[in-house]
């Protein structure tokens, strides 16, 4: 298959998830959309420069991560309390009957993730929301697979302790 077609296929498969991921991590929807656009423009630029991409999914997430890091370097994270980030900005699907229940679950999920350290939050999100394999997370974050496993284990343990206490 031609690389152009492969790339557009990767867009169709992962664009929504990448945008969702960025929306979760940055302050507003407009910035998230700008960054998501940048992810795909940069990815294409990389391909045009003659380099090969073996697996689009971790490759695109890696670019997204770098852009998010750059974004926060330019703008201190203290501006954006994690509790406010997604509860205000992200709206949930329109199916009426399950909406209330879903919102409660989503806000609980935000609450849980807000209790974690930045690194833990990112890795847990990659694992359970982005559905990335340990190996892929290791590729994105530059940590060893074992290290990723330990971080996830510790994050879940601390959440379990929190739930136990509350």
């Amino acid at each position: 298959m031609k690389i152009e077609k492969q790339f557009l296929e990767a867009y169709d498969n992962y664009a929504a998830a990448i945008l969702r991921h960025i929306q979760f991590r940055v302050s507003d929807q407009e910035t998230a959309q700008d960054l998501a656009q940048e992810v795909f423009f940069k990815a294409w630029q990389y391909i045009v420069s003659g380099r090969e991409v073996k697996n689009f999914k971790p490759f695109l997430y890696k670019i997204a991560n770098n852009l998010i890091i750059d974004y926060y370097r330019q703008r201190p994270r203290a501006d954006v309390p994690i509790e406010d980030i997604n509860q205000k900005q992200i709206s949930y699907g329109p199916e009426q009957e399950k909406e209330a229940e879903r919102e409660i679950s989503a806000s609980l999920a935000h609450k849980y993730l807000s209790l974690l350290e930045d690194e833990q939050r990112q890795i847990v999100y990659h694992r359970y929301v982005d559905d990335l394999a340990i190996k892929e997370i290791s590729e994105i974050t530059g940590k060893t697979a074992n290290n990723v496993r330990v971080i996830i284990h510790r994050a879940l343990k601390s959440l379990k302790d929190y739930v136990g206490k509350n």
């Binding site: 945008l19 656009q37 423009f41 294409w44 935000h110 929301v129 136990g164």
Partner: protein, 322 residues
């Protein structure tokens, strides 16, 4: 263990967070433009690009890289085929419509410069609005046809905006083209709104007719007739809502692309102003420095005069003492 599974299940609920589908569609179109403007060039093609000296050879290169069926279609179109001519009046969903779209795509591919491409995209967007208007007037809300026309409309708009952005990134002055395109988007927006507004008026007229018929049916005790008219009324309402939703999406995409272009224009203006400011500041600094130098020179002169005066007086004193 159970608690852990529950926590994971709750976190997984974040997968349901919604994203702006309109934005994703528009980004895909922009990406397509970027890919075709900046393709991956294999070594053999690269040589061809490097030796590409004239617009004509560029056109030959484009033709060379086209699939054969497209070239055959191109020849048929350029030779003014009757089918092609006939297809121009077709609407989405009709047999000849794909020919009309193919003709447009080919015209876009062979357009010789980005400005011509942008103008064509804007022209095709206007054609889609005209189709929407015709469809609404002739067939009412026909979702499939409207979807085809509106999704192509969004594509044309996104492509036009993207070509301008790519040109700007290459360092070209796109302010005039961007300004014209923004104005055109504005015209398209008004035309699209008007098309849906006309359709809305038509809905109200039909609704009133159905209400009158319903009243008659109630008076005459025709229960089967009442049911039938009520069903028609419900269908009409649903069609009106559907048309309204489609209009909102099309207008939102248009607005987003218009804003994007306007931002780019503002950005260019701001950069120009900043450059002008910097030049003015540099001039002022230069003037200040010249003034300072002048003052310094005068001061040195004064000091020299004073020193000379002192020397003269000293000499005079020495002479007097002698």
């Amino acid at each position: 263990m159970l608690e852990k599974i529950k926590i994971i299940k709750i976190i997984k609920k974040l997968k349901q967070a919604s994203v702006d589908e309109g934005f994703l569609k528009s980004l895909r179109s922009r990406l397509e433009v970027r890919i075709s403007a900046n393709p991956v060039i294999k070594p053999a093609e690269e040589r061809l690009f490097l030796t590409e000296r004239s617009t004509l050879s560029g056109l030959f290169f484009k033709l060379k890289t086209m699939p054969i069926p497209l070239i055959i279609a191109l020849i048929a179109i350029l030779s003014g085929g009757g089918v092609t001519m006939a297809s121009q009046a077709s609407l989405p969903g009709e047999t000849l419509y794909p020919v009309k779209i193919l003709t447009e795509d080919i015209r876009s591919v062979i357009a010789l410069n980005p400005e011509a491409k942008v103008k064509l995209e804007v022209k095709f967007a206007a054609e889609r609005v005209a189709e929407v208007k015709e469809m609404l007037a002739e067939k009412g809300v026909e979702p499939r046809g409207l979807d085809i026309a509106l999704s192509r409309f969004q594509k044309h708009i996104a492509r036009a905006a993207e070509i301008i952005e790519v040109e700007k990134q290459k360092g070209k002055d796109v302010s005039k083209l961007a300004g014209e395109t923004v104005d055109n988007f504005h015209i398209q927006k008004k035309a699209a709104k008007q098309a849906f507004e006309d359709a809305k008026q038509e809905f109200f007229t039909k609704k009133k007719q159905l209400h009158d018929q319903l009243l008659e049916a109630i008076k005459s005790g025709d229960t089967a007739g009442q049911e039938h008219i009520r069903a028609e009324l419900a269908d009409l309402e649903a069609a009106k809502d559907e048309a309204e939703a489609k209009k909102d999406v099309a207008i939102a995409v248009l607005e987003a692309e218009k804003d994007r272009l306007q931002d780019k224009l503002e950005e260019t203006k701001q950069q120009e102003e900043e450059a002008l400011d910097a030049a003015e500041r540099a001039d002022e600094e230069l003037e200040e420095r010249e003034e300072e130098q002048q003052e310094l020179k005068e001061k040195i002169k004064e000091e020299q005069a004073e020193v000379e005066k002192e020397i003269r007086e000293a000499i005079k004193n020495v002479k007097e003492e002698d």
